[in-house]
C-alpha cells in the first residue's frame, strides 16, 4: 500500500495559492470628444453612469473636450463592456481598449 502524503497538523491547503498572481486582463473605458454632445450633457451622463459627483464628472468632461479623450475607468472586460454600453446608449463616443500592463 502506497503511503498517502498528509499535510502536517496546523497547516492549511489554500486552493487560491495555485492562481496567486494571475489577474484578469483589464481594459480602459475611454470617452472621445465629438463636436455634437454638449459639455453639460456629457457631465450629466458621467454622473448618471458612474455615480460621480459634479466635480469629478466635470474633470473628465474637460479632459474629453481639451485633450480629445479621457480614460474614465479601468475594469475587467465585462464591467468595461457594460460601461461602454451605458455610455453609447447616451450617444457618447465610448470605446474600450486593453490596459496594456
Amino acid at each position: 500500500m502506497t503511503p498517502v502524503e498528509m499535510p502536517l497538523p496546523g497547516t492549511e491547503i489554500r486552493p487560491d495559492e495555485a492562481s496567486k498572481g494571475v489577474r484578469e486582463p483589464e481594459y480602459l473605458v475611454v470617452c472621445w470628444n465629438d463636436p455634437i454632445n454638449a459639455m453639460l450633457y456629457v457631465t450629466h451622463v458621467f454622473r448618471t453612469v458612474f455615480g460621480w459627483d459634479r466635480k469629478k464628472a466635470e474633470k473628465h468632461m474637460r479632459e474629453v473636450h481639451e485633450q480629445g479623450r479621457s480614460v474614465l475607468t479601468r475594469e475587467g472586460f465585462e464591467k468595461a463592456e457594460f460601461y461602454v454600453h451605458q455610455l453609447q446608449k447616451f450617444s457618447l463616443q465610448a470605446t474600450l481598449e486593453p490596459a496594456g500592463d
Partner: protein, 159 residues
Amino acid sequence: MKLVSREPGRLVFRLNSREYDALRAAVALRSHLTRRRRPLTGDTAVSGPLRGAEEDLDEALKAHRDELTTSVDALLSDSVRCALQPRGVRLLTLDTDDANLLLQVLNDLRVGAWERLGCPDFEAGERPEVNEGNFICLWAFQVTELFEAHLLDGLMGED
C-alpha cells in the same frame, strides 16, 4: 417648456400645446434619424472576445432603442405623467429615470439629425445650407436641443 417644480427625484415641466406637439413630432422622427455608433474598440482588427462584443453591443443598442421608443411614447401619452390641462397645456411629471429616458431619446435624435446633415462642426462656424432635403433634420436638431437644455437644467439643478 418651463420647469414648474423640482423635488428630489421629481421634475414637473409645463408645456403649451405647440411645445407638446413639437415634442411628439420630433420623437416620431426617431425611426428616420437613427445614428451611427462608434465601434466598441475603434480597432478594425478585432478578434476573439472583442469581435463577439461588437455584435453584443449592436444587439444591446438595438434592443435599447426599441425599448426607449415604446417607453417614451407611453410617457407622452400617459394621462397622469403627461396630464392635459385647460387650453391644451401639458404638465409633464418626470422621475429621474423618465427624465433620463427622454434625454436619451432627444439626444439620440439630435445626433442622428446632425449626422444626416453631414456632421457640421458648429463650433467651427459650419452651417449647413437649408434645402428641401435637410430642413426636417435642421428642425429636429434645433428642437431637440431646446428640449434637452430644459431637461438638463432641471436635472443638473438638483445639486
